[in-house]
């Protein structure tokens, strides 16, 4: 896509934190490293965001490439619509996850990274999270395309609401018997557990800072938006940077930036600058829409609505309740991380988590953005909503869109529902004032 002078101006006008600019530079460097792999000889491992094993991957000098993040990039850059249609032309049904179709369509149209250069052919596909069955099918398609080695680490679902020693043992066994030997073979690098420990130590540092940042939203006003802004904050840790010095630096920098905003009593930064006064505090469940990301966000900040906590920012892994990567139990900690992923939690666990957010973050209510093509998230959301309404007594609302298929974003409809919801909160407040 050529950049028109108009869009260039629009892009320039968008307000960004220094941390956002830093992250942009990190991402650009990563894409350059990925796309120059054929020249540098670095080997590439495609893997998914939830429960990714970035520390382990790095032990084998592999560069990680995340197909969902590529689909998100395509969505934000308004390319995914064409890719999705291309995939449908090839024969993928309308109901298939649009991340998958964006990826397949992108491959069919030259497989270009955001820097305009082709993505490298991966040396290995590593599936470390199995709570989303689509991921398995996705990698089957990629294996067909790339004819490369595939490794699967089976992560048991937390159906009973807890992690048992058996689960950890089962996963560690797979790591020892299957994952590590294969990665050694593919990379030609001998596994060094002390190297893993070092990376895990770095991960925990960045994780501490991320949790601190996300929890600043407990303040009134919140200095951050934990959904729209939160997506930027989770980028490096759930992407290619966890366990790196870059991630440690980034999260330290972000923490200072957010603490500064907090000290100044400022609200979140939006694409239109500092947000006005905070009128509604929301907890949001479900992924965002990426094709109309700013338009969607604007519907919130224009009304003074801040998202103080979201489940989507836990899609890579959940740190709120104390989990940190632990260098003293290197393989066990990787297993625990994968098991803890938000969508690997049973519905009652998700309900408890969202209720906890509503309470701890003093939110006015729960909003669900239900994604047409994502079963991992969408199944059970209505039930969750009812239960949360019942137990919290706070109002909930439901909007629908899609991840990266622009055909499923109906702006007027979503705006109508959001406005109704904000007024519903207002009405409830007025009523409790009257009662008091």
């Amino acid at each position: 896509m050529t950049t028109t002078p108009n869009s260039a101006r629009a892009a320039k006008d968008v307000e960004k934190d220094a941390s956002m600019r830093k992250q942009k530079a990190m991402m650009a460097a990563h894409y350059d490293r990925l796309t120059s792999a054929p020249e540098t000889g670095e080997k590439v491992c495609d893997t998914f965001v939830p429960g990714n094993l970035n520390e382990l991957i790095r032990c084998f000098d592999l560069v990680n490439n995340l197909p969902e993040v590529n689909a998100i990039q395509s969505g934000l850059r308004r390319l995914s619509g064409g890719y999705v249609m291309e995939a449908e032309k090839i024969g993928h049904s309308e109901d298939v996850c649009t991340y998958v179709k964006s990826d397949i369509g992108m491959m069919a149209k030259g497989n270009l990274a955001p820097n305009g250069k082709p993505f490298p052919v991966p040396d290995v596909l590593l599936l470390s999270y199995t709570g989303c069955f689509t991921f398995m099918k996705w990698f089957e398609l990629l294996r067909e395309q790339y004819k490369c080695e595939t490794i699967m680490l089976h992560t048991p679902y937390m159906g009973d609401g807890k992690i048992t020693p058996n689960m950890i043992e089962y996963m560690v066994k797979q790591l020892k018997d299957e994952v590590i030997p294969k990665l050694e073979k593919i990379s030609g690098v001998k596994f060094d557990i002390d190297r893993l420990r070092e990376y895990l130590k770095q991960s925990a540092k960045a994780e501490d800072d991320l949790v601190h940042v996300l929890q600043t939203a407990k303040n009134k006003p919140s200095p951050i938006d934990s959904y729209f802004g939160g997506i930027y904050y989770i980028g490096p840790i759930f992407g290619a940077f966890r366990g790196t010095d870059d991630a440690v630096d980034y999260y330290r920098f972000l923490r200072e930036e957010v603490d500064q905003r907090l000290a100044e009593g400022k609200g979140p930064v939006t694409p239109d600058g500092d947000m006005g006064s905070e009128r509604y505090r929301l907890v949001v469940e479900g992924p965002p829409n990426y094709t109309n990301f700013r338009q969607f966000w604007k519907m919130f900040y224009e009304e003074g609505a801040v998202v103080v906590a979201s489940s989507y920012t836990k899609v890579g892994g959940v740190y709120d309740f104390g989990f940190r990567h632990d260098p003293d139990k290197p393989l066990e900690t990787l297993a625990e991380y994968c098991l803890n992923v938000y969508t690997n939690r049973s519905l009652p666990m998700r309900i408890d988590m969202l209720l906890n957010y509503l309470d701890e973050y003093q939110a006015d209510g729960l909003l669900i953005n239900s994604i047409k093509s994502c079963n991992s998230f969408s199944a059970g959301q209505l039930l969750m909503m009812r239960e949360i309404e019942k137990r919290s007594g706070k109002p909930a609302a439901f909007v629908e869109s899609d991840l990266v298929d622009p055909r499923y974003f109906s702006a007027a409809n979503i705006k109508n529902r959001l406005e109704s919801y904000f007024q519903m909160i207002e009405q409830k407040r007025a009523n409790s004032r009257a009662v008091a």
């Binding site: 409809n413 109704s420 519903m424 009405q427």
Partner: protein, 445 residues
């Protein structure tokens, strides 16, 4: 007198409700939404004011003990006479507006013939007007466009044939003028129109003659009463285009919830089927919305769906319900996609199925879709209030009743004859509350 106005700008019609200081409905007005919501809001608002005057007349006559036992008859006669006056005034306006289109173009050569033909058409319309507003006369619609339009076409065809003029020329005149005419609010000379209508009633009906002076005095003093519009709230699809600010706007979901609560205070679940929306709303004992769901991405199963079906079957929208009621063996229509339903309909007709059975099936399909939306919002809780234009359709009501009972057992289903005004009613109450809470209207541009 302080009044509070609610306006619901729907995709098909615009409704206005005026509430008085005692939270009672003073007047209701409805008009086509057209493409211009600003005009529609003005016209519906003026209609509600007219209706409000009738309410005030009725109250004053009842309180004053005038026309004891005949107030209802008198008000009926006065309203018919007023509507006739209004019709005649709009007809004059139509004639003038049509004449203003003559200049040049295709009319140049035929101007005097067209003028005569138009005059003749309007004369015929004027002559038959009193009959249309006679007691018991059945008017298809209350909108000038509908009433005048259908008769204009009939007369224009006859007149143009006799005058050897192209029929299209007269039709074209009408089409070019009607929007302009209906966009002019009926406010000008309102008092005069009431007084003319009053004179007509008193002259034509000797029953009221004995108390003529008292009646006249009561009407005149009521006309002098100033109605102060304290606050206005707009809602509905066109709300964002209204010429007033954010503070004067409420979501239609909240307005429908509150309006249904005002009509039936025990309401807990509301179903509203409008032109392009189906909404399932749950409200608490105070009328506060606790949850809602609405159709997403597709408006099949809404009012417009019925409009499309009516077109497919070459029928009027208001004829669908009565025909479906004749069915005792509804056909199963599986599709809730409007376009597919049209195809299925033609298919069924070709197979020889009866029209009433097909229509009954279509009404059931709409209700099944609505029930699915309600389920998502939390199901049906007693009492259940059905609102919106589709609530006027008896076949839809019959199917709803059946489906609700099948799924939720014995539930009280409320349908108000004024259910189309539910959103506007809720909006007017929001206006009243805002005013009481200290809100004041900003100066309008």
């Amino acid at each position: 007198m302080q009044t509070f106005v609610g306006i619901d700008l729907g995709s098909t019609t615009t409704k206005a409700v005026i509430l008085d200081e005692n939270r009672e409905v003073l007047g209701r007005g409805i008009t086509n939404s057209r493409s211009n919501y600003g005009t529609a809001a003005r016209v519906a608002g003026e209609e509600a004011k007219v209706d409000g005057r009738f309410t005030l007349f009725r109250r004053a006559l009842t309180e004053g003990g005038t026309l004891r036992g005949h107030v209802g008859d008198f008000m009926g006669a006065l309203e018919r006479a007023f509507r006739l006056e209004q019709f005649l005034e709009q007809l004059d306006d139509l004639e003038r507006t049509c004449e203003s289109q003559f200049k040049g173009g295709k009319f140049a050569a035929l101007e005097s013939q067209v003028r005569d033909a138009l005059g003749e058409v309007c004369k015929r319309l004027r002559d038959e007007a009193p009959e249309m507003y006679a007691p018991g006369a059945n008017r298809k619609s209350d909108f000038f466009r509908d009433i005048a339009g259908s008769r204009y076409h009939v007369h224009a065809e006859d007149v143009s044939r006799d005058a050897m003029l192209p029929y299209e020329l007269l039709l074209n005149l009408y089409d070019k003028s009607i929007i302009e005419v209906e966009n002019r609010p009926p406010s000008a000379g309102l008092s005069d129109k009431f007084l003319r209508a009053l004179a007509r009633v008193l002259a034509e009906d000797p029953t009221f003659g004995a108390e003529a002076e008292d009646v006249k005095a009561t009407i005149e003093s009521t006309l002098d009463l100033e109605l102060e519009e304290c606050y206005l709230i707009g809602t509905g699809y066109g709300r964002v285009t209204l010429p007033f600010s954010h503070e004067h706007i409420r979501s239609e979901i909240l307005c429908h919830g509150l309006g249904a609560h005002m009509m039936y205070p025990n309401t807990r679940t509301v179903l509203d089927i409008g032109g392009q929306d189906t909404k399932g709303i749950q409200v608490d004992p105070k009328g506060i919305v606790t949850n809602f769901q609405m159709n997403d991405r597709c408006a099949a199963g809404c009012g417009r769906y019925l409009g499309y079906i009516a077109d497919e079957m070459n029928m009027g929208l208001h004829e669908l319900g009565p025909m479906a009621m004749k069915s005792d063996r509804p056909v199963r229509i599986n599709s809730t996609c409007t376009v597919f339903a049209g195809a299925e309909l033609r298919d069924r007709l070709a197979l020889g199925e009866k029209r009433e059975d097909i229509l009954a099936g279509l009404h059931r399909a709409i209700i099944l879709r609505a029930i699915s939306i309600i389920s998502r919002s939390g199901g049906v809780t007693d009492e259940f209030t059905f609102t919106g234009g589709v609530a006027k359709n008896e076949a839809a009501v019959r199917e709803l009743d059946k489906v609700v009972r099948e799924n939720y057992g014995d539930v009280t289903i409320n349908i108000n004859p004024d259910s189309i005004y539910t959103g506007a009613l809720g909006a007017s109450e929001f206006a009243r509350r805002a005013y009481i809470g200290g809100a004041r209207p900003e100066a309008r541009a």
